[in-house]
């Protein structure tokens, strides 16, 4: 059997030696931070208009994380490319000839991908949080306030799990163009739209992005179907299912 540490080392070399890794991860950081900072600044300057009707308390953490909905697209693209470029280049056959234990290969790739995505997401979420709070001025919160630290870690876990989910879906579809064509419209359009449509939204509330984003909420929202930890486990279940599905397809298919 192939040695798992050797597979990890090899997958790390693969991931660090292509430019798309740097670009997609840098974009994740820049978009999340940039939009978060911009909205924090706008909110401070126009607080009475932005802060809503006062029905629920103002969420300073959530304001700082306003950019995550776009930033997640970049890390999804990272997950798609990391798996998909093996298929687009035909390199998958070289990889499988080197590591014929297909589950080991994909798990090794997912482990490296997940570790890198988590590291970048943690840096992104903490910096975004602190920059956002600095710009919010009087309306800011602190990392020590109730639920805030959980929300900041939650943001990082959310991004990491979406990245791995995307990687798993790409392995199932074994085609990076198709995976991008399915995942980007799903997360950017379909899921947000469906979660606003009556009746359908009950279903949409169990989609990975909606579920995962519950972890970032500091205050309980009106009509929220479940709490942050339930959201975490629902998102985790999607991620595990996608990677598991990817392994099944990879094992079953001719390469």
């Amino acid at each position: 059997m192939a040695s798992f540490p050797a597979v990890l080392q090899s997958e790390w070399t693969k991931i660090r030696s292509v430019r798309s890794t740097i670009w997609t991860l840098a974009l994740t950081f820049v978009i999340t931070l940039g939009i978060g900072a911009l909205l924090s600044l706008l909110t401070r300057n126009n607080f009475s208009e932005f802060a809503g009707d006062g029905d629920s308390p103002f969420d300073a953490t959530g304001t700082a994380f306003s950019g995550i909905l776009l930033g997640e697209l970049a890390i999804i693209v990272f997950g798609v490319l990391a798996v998909g470029n093996e298929y687009s280049s035909g390199m998958i056959r070289v990889s499988l000839a080197a590591v014929p234990q297909r589950a080991t290969l994909l798990l090794g790739k997912a482990a490296v991908l997940g570790a890198l995505a988590l590291a970048v997401s943690l840096v992104t979420s903490f910096i975004t949080f602190f920059v956002g709070q600095a710009l919010l001025g009087d309306h800011s919160t602190t990392i020590g306030s109730p639920n805030v630290l959980r929300a900041v870690f939650g943001a990082a876990l959310y991004l990491t799990m979406l990245c791995l989910f995307a990687a798993g879906v790409t392995a199932m579809l074994h085609n990076q163009t198709l995976a991008l064509g399915v995942l980007v419209p799903f997360f950017f359009l379909l899921s947000p739209i469906l979660s606003a449509v009556p009746k359908v939204k009950t279903l949409a509330h169990y989609f990975p992005d909606y579920a995962g984003s519950r972890m970032m909420l500091v205050y309980e929202q009106h009509g929220q179907p479940y709490g942050p930890w339930a959201g975490f486990f629902i998102c985790l279940a999607w991620t595990v299912a996608a990677i598991g599905g990817g392994i099944l397809v990879l094992k079953k298919r001719d390469a």
Binding site: S3, A6, S10, E11, S89, M91, R93, A97, P100, D254
Partner: protein, 332 residues
């Protein structure tokens, strides 16, 4: 040693590989020949466990490929030239491959030097020519210093210099005692490098024999005669114990005939000859003849194929070269 036992691969209604059984002999270059679409690449992918056989099995040193730990140390393969991420450098491509099988890093520099890519090692492979891509593929096959090497159509698209390089490389590898299994659709190429031949057509085994045997069986010659007095000539030949087969354009061909003898025979019987010429079949023509029935796509000349007849047992239905084979066997 690579052993195939009744290896079969079916895609839907198509049998790509049909009950293939043979062994690849150790320490020599074995040519794996067949027209395009004969199932060579599919067979090679099944050897590497990339495609799963519908039935039958293939083993390497008695084990399935998937059971090998660190397989690059047993068998190195070049399947496609550019199965490389275009944005990754040649060095990094070989590095991840080496790391996956715990091959020391210095081996990467060694194989890069061996294939002559040291100067572009840090360049992204996007800009590589086909020949450079082929060299990189060969470097990855050699990385684990394996006993068995497998190359799928390695000379495809290469310039004469590249072809010569690969030819010498394969001979050199076999001279070191390694097993080289190389596919091709060109008999002429194999005649220069291979010690052993495995020929397939439409997924079925057509021949499995040594190169000297192949040459011996297929270098027969014939004498072609053309005459307005067919009856008389055939009678004369028959009288001398020779048989003539109908050739192209009303000619007749005498297997293993002697030019002088047939000329004298005709003169003695007062038969006018319009042609008396020696016919030699090249190995390429013999190969085309053999696989004529199993070629997937034919060039326009529909007549040629029917005239070729069934290939049957190797060598037994040998005919004059230009009767049919050239039209039937050309690659598309």
């Amino acid at each position: 040693m690579i052993e195939l036992h009744q290896l079969t691969k079916r895609y839907g209604d198509t049998l790509a590989v049909d009950g293939l059984s043979f062994q690849v002999p150790q320490g020599v270059v074995t040519g794996f020949l067949g027209p395009n679409g004969a199932g060579k690449s599919t067979t090679m992918r099944m050897i590497l466990d990339l495609d799963r056989p519908t039935s039958g099995k293939v083993t390497i040193d008695g084990k399935r490929y998937g059971q090998l730990s660190e397989p690059l140390k047993y068998i190195g393969a070049l399947l496609e030239a550019k199965a490389v991420h275009p944005g990754r450098t040649a060095y990094d491509h070989l590095l991840w491959l080496a790391q996956s099988n715990r091959i020391p890093r210095r081996r990467v520099d060694e194989v890069l030097a061996l294939v002559g890519l040291s100067s572009v090692a840090k360049k992204r492979s996007r800009g590589f020519s086909l020949g450079m891509g082929q060299r990189l593929g060969i470097a990855s096959a050699l990385l684990g210093d394996p006993e068995i090497l497998m190359f799928d159509e390695p000379v495809n698209g290469l310039d004469p210099e590249g072809i010569l390089w690969i030819r010498n490389l394969m001979k050199g590898l076999a001279a070191e005692g390694r097993t080289v299994f190389v596919s091709s659709h060109l008999m002429s190429e194999m005649a220069l490098t291979a010690d052993h031949l495995v020929v397939i057509g439409k997924g079925r085994l057509l021949a499995n024999l040594s190169m000297p045997d192949f040459i011996k069986q297929n270098s027969r010659s014939a004498v072609r005669v053309r005459t307005p007095h067919v009856e008389q000539l055939l009678t004369a030949l028959h009288g001398a114990g020779l048989t003539a087969e109908a050739g192209p354009e009303g000619s007749y061909e005498v297997q293993d005939g002697d030019l002088a003898h047939i000329g004298e025979l005709a003169a003695a019987h007062g038969v006018t000859l319009h042609e008396l010429s020696p016919q030699q079949a090249s190995l390429e023509e013999a190969f085309m003849q053999m696989t004529a029935d199993s070629v997937e796509y034919h060039a326009g000349d529909g007549q040629g194929r029917d005239a070729a007849g069934a290939p049957g047992v190797w060598g037994s239905t040998w005919q004059a070269p230009d009767a049919a084979a050239p039209a039937a066997g050309k690659e598309n």
